[in-house]
Each structure stands twice: as C-alpha cells, then as structure tokens.
C-alpha cells in the first residue's frame, strides 16, 4: 500500500522534527556529560594535573565496557532504566535517554583524544604562572582544543543521526521509524527515498555547521 503524498508530507515534516529533537537533545546532554568525563579522563592520567590512578582506571574500565555494546542492544538493556527515569520507553524523550548514555562515552573519548594533542609545554607554562587545575581546565585546555573539539562533536552528531534512526525503529519516532514502517515494511520506495534524502541533507548540514564553527575558532 503506497502512501498518499498529499497527506503524508506532514508526517515527514513531523518525523524530521522528531529526529532533529532527538539529535540536538542528545548532543546537548552528552556534550555536557562527555566533556566532564573526557576532561576527567585526561587530567587524571599519569603525570597530569589531577593525576589519580584509581579514577583513571575506573573511568577507562567503565567506558570500555559500555562502548563495545551495539547501540540496538544497549537500547534494550537500558529500557528498564529508561522507564524508571523518563516514565516510558516510547517516544522521542525516551530515545534521548539511552542515546545520551551511549554518546556521552563516545564524546568522553573524543574530548580526551583532543586534549592529549595539546602541547604539554603550554600546560606546564600555565602551571609555572601559578594557574590552579581548575583555571588550567577552563583557560587552557578547553580554549586550546576548541577547534578540534568542535570537529569531534560534529563527528559525534553525524553518528547521532544514525543512532536516532535506530532508536526510531524501536519506538523513538523520527525518520527512522517512518522509513521502517512505511518504506521498508510496506515496500514504498518513495518513502524510503525521501527519508534517506532528508537524512543525507541533515548530515551535510551538521558537517557544514561544524566545519564553519571550528574554522572560526581555529588558529593553527
């Protein structure tokens, strides 16, 4: 059964809105959590400003356990927790929760990797000037790595568009859900085509914004 495009386009607009909500919501939450975790990962490393073997080992252990789990499995594993926290496992809000969990650990690694590439001499210079660890984090680490950090977050965002399609198939709504139910299960290639095109446009848009912002702040 083919869809009637005269009435169906409104469903596509809604679904696009749901996808954008899921991606942006997840991006905001996972950036905050991931940034904090990434900074902690970096600064507790051996020889670093907040060196702490225990916290470092614990964080690495945790991240290495969560990260290899395929997202679709994580969705199911987390669903009791999601029900507890959000109140439901269906809908956009319910998708943002597991997406945030999964993405936070990815962001943490991206942040850590970008901080490692900062010249240690610059951090040493700030220490020599009497900067506290907190001052080093906010006035040296983040500003010095901001350009690559934005590119890293852009990379994560593109991944989130992919996550959102997966979350959509299990009740999260969005373009993934539409593509699955109308395009795939009802053999309507026109729906499949439209959703894929919209997803491609979203990815391009995210990458373009990311490139633009990182170029604005990068000085190297």
């Amino acid at each position: 059964m083919k869809v009637n495009w005269e009435t169906f386009w409104i469903r596509i607009v809604e679904a696009t809105g749901e996808t954008i909500t899921m991606v942006l919501g997840t991006l905001v939450f996972s950036s905050i959590i991931g940034m904090a975790l990434g900074i902690l990962l970096f600064t507790t490393r051996e020889g670093n400003i907040l060196e702490n073997r225990f916290i470092s080992a614990l964080l690495n252990f945790f991240i290495n356990i969560i990260r290899p789990i395929p997202f679709i499995i994580l969705l199911f594993v987390l669903s009791p927790v999601t029900r507890e926290v959000i109140g439901t496992t269906i809908g956009t809000a319910a998708a943002i929760f597991p997406m945030t969990i999964a993405a936070s650990f990815v962001v943490a690694r991206v942040v850590e990797n970008n901080l490692i590439s900062i010249d240690p001499g610059v951090i040493e210079a700030a220490e020599a000037m009497g900067a506290s660890p907190r001052q080093i984090i906010f006035t040296v680490l983040i500003p010095e790595a901001l350009g690559p950090l934005i590119l890293g977050l852009t990379f994560v965002t593109v991944g989130l568009i992919d996550f959102s399609a997966v979350a959509g198939t299990v009740g999260g709504g969005g373009l993934g859900h539409v593509a699955m139910t109308h395009g795939y299960q009802r053999f309507d290639s026109s729906v499949m085509f439209v959703t894929v095109v919209i997803l491609i446009i979203l990815v391009q848009l995210a990458q373009w914004i990311g490139n633009f912002l990182s170029k604005k702040v990068m000085r190297r």
Partner: protein, 341 residues
C-alpha cells in the same frame, strides 16, 4: 635569592631509578644572571623546574628568598610561582590567544583589574619591542618574536626571578643575540635576577656573571664566569670553552711547524689588566731575545680582557729559559706539547 642545599631528584621509570639531580648546592644572588651549562641529559631541565616547584626534590632544600619551597601548600606554591617568571625553549604560547591576550593571561590569574591589565600589557609589549603585534596570533610570528612574547608574559606579574629554560636554543644566531640583549636589559633595567640553563657556551659568555657546569646530575664546577672560563678545572668545562674559543692551533698545523724545524711553542694566558701591560715585550727585551706570536686571540669576557697567545722565543737557550721563568711569575705560561695535542 635562590638557595639549593644538597638537592637531589630521583625519578622512578618503570623499575629503574634515574638520578636526574645529585646533591646540588649553590646560591643565586640578587641581581645575578646565573647560567647553568651542561650537555643534554645533564639534569639542567629538572634543576630549573625545582626552582618553581614544577618538580619536587627527593632530598634537600630549596629556598626562595629564605622561604623553603617544600613546606608550601599547593595554594601557597601557586602564589610563589606568580612571582617567578619562566620562559621556554619552545615558547609555549597559547595558540588560541593573541599576543596581547598571552601577555595578559598571568595578570588575569592574579585577578588584576581590566584597565590595569591593559596598561601593563601595552607597557610590556613596548619593552620587548612588539607593540605593533598586539593583535597577532602566535602562529603569525617568527621564533624571535614568539620568545619576546614569552618574555613579556613572564614579566607581566613583576617577578623578582626569571627562569629561562634553553630560551635561545631554538633560535638562529642573530635572533639569539637579540634575545640575550633583551635578557640583559631585563636584568639591568628591571633588576630581575635571572637563572638560565643552556648548552651553548656563547650564552654564558655574553650575558652571565656566574656559572655552574653540570654533568650527570652533578654541579662539577661553579663560580664567576671570568674565573671559571679563564681557569677551567674540569674536562667538561674545557670542552665547553673550546666550543667557542680554540685555544691552540690544530694538530696538523703544529706538526707542520715542528716539521719545518720550528722551536718550542708556549701558550701564554693573560687575564684582566695583565692583558693591557706590554709584558711580553718588556720581559723579552730584558733578556735580549725575540718572540714570535704564531697564534692567539685577545677577547672580552665579562667586560675584562682575556688573552690567549701561542708564541715561540728566538735567542740563546739560557736567556729563553730565564725569560720563561720570569714570565711564569707574572702570567700563566705552559709549553705546547705538539705530539699529544
């Protein structure tokens, strides 16, 4: 100003212990430009980092103006650091900040009000000769300019001590000269005590008044630059000196001299005011012999003359011996051994 008392620093690398600094004792006095010279791996970098607590000693004491560094809590240590400027071999400027923002940074850490910060930054950039680069980013500057920014940044909080970690090692000879002049200006005009580490003899010679020579973690020789370099005791010190000042002709030339039937050669060292007296001609005339300078130099070292001449004497054997004997009581003189040199 800075006192090292029996300071040692041992690093644990895997299962091995590496003694980077061994039982070092020395004093840097107010107004000094104190140079520490050593080959790479001698422990100089660790030593200079002990002064502002970037490294903690395993043993011994470091006093900054009589304050024992090891007794300070982290917060107090940060306060002390704000009064000790540091410049680095690789400049270590913040790439995300402009020149003026780099210089302003330590003032922000000290919570200096905005208007005062602006005035100070302007004055410092003027002082280091970079007033026109205020809005540039470090990547747009040459090495020498970057180091000037580094120096301006280190001076922002009006420190009493400036630490220079191989500050000229990444620069070409001309730029090195400029930066050394600037450091001298910092010492003279602002009265800042400077402790610098380097592997370049030229740096010590042109700006330092006192020097310590380091090897495998130990200070093997220290003192006034003039004394240490006109009368080196240790082989490593001699090696550093010969890097900038060849005191003898090459062995090939000496062999040629010998082969042509040349007479014995003597190396004479004049120091300070001795270099301005006509000693050689007075003494040789008295003994009625001639002298022939075949090699040598007279140079300035710490605003004093330092002469190093290789001469031969022509005349009766007895007279030559008597002449050499008399010279020995006035200057340093030694026979040049053509075979081993």
């Amino acid at each position: 100003m800075i006192t090292f008392e029996n300071v040692s620093k041992t690093f644990v690398v895997g299962s091995k212990q590496v003694e980077a600094v061994k039982k070092v004792t020395f004093d840097v006095e107010e107004g000094d430009i104190f140079g520490i010279i050593g080959f790479s791996g001698a422990g100089k970098s660790t030593l200079i980092r002990l002064v502002n607590g970037l490294e903690r000693p395993t043993e011994g004491k470091i006093l900054i103006k009589k304050t024992p560094l090891h007794e300070l809590k982290p917060k107090q240590l940060r306060e002390v650091r704000r009064k000790i400027g540091m410049v680095f071999q690789n400049f270590n400027l913040f790439s995300s900040r402009t020149v003026e923002q780099n210089v302003e940074y330590p003032l922000k850490l000290s919570k200096v009000p905005k208007a005062e910060r602006n005035a100070k930054v302007k004055q410092l950039l003027q002082f280091v000769g970079l007033a026109d680069k205020a809005k540039s980013y470090p990547e747009q500057l040459s090495g020498g300019q970057k180091q000037r920014v580094g120096i301006a940044r280190a001076l922002a909080t009006d420190p009493e001590i400036l630490l220079c970690d191989e500050a000229t090692s990444a620069l070409d000879p001309n730029t090195t000269r400029d930066i050394l002049n600037l450091l001298q200006k910092v010492n003279r005009e602002l009265g800042i005590t400077i402790l610098l580490i380097t592997h370049e003899m030229q740096v010590i010679q042109s700006v330092c008044n006192r020097v310590a020579v380091m090897e495998t973690g130990e200070v093997i020789e220290q003192g006034e630059v003039f004394e240490t370099f006109t009368n080196p005791q240790h082989a490593t010190t001699k090696e550093f000196i010969s890097a900038t000042d060849q005191s003898l002709p090459s062995p090939q030339l000496l062999d040629e001299w010998r082969a042509k039937g040349g007479t014995d050669l003597y190396r004479i060292i004049f120091k300070g005011e001795r270099a301005s007296d006509p000693i050689l001609s007075t003494v040789t005339r008295k003994h009625q012999i001639d002298f022939n300078i075949i090699y040598g130099s007279i140079r300035e070292l710490q605003q004093q003359f330092f002469g190093n001449l290789v001469v031969s004497f022509e005349g009766k054997n007895d007279a030559v011996m008597a002449c050499i004997h008399e010279l020995k009581s006035i200057v340093d003189i030694e026979e040049v051994n053509t075979n081993e040199s």
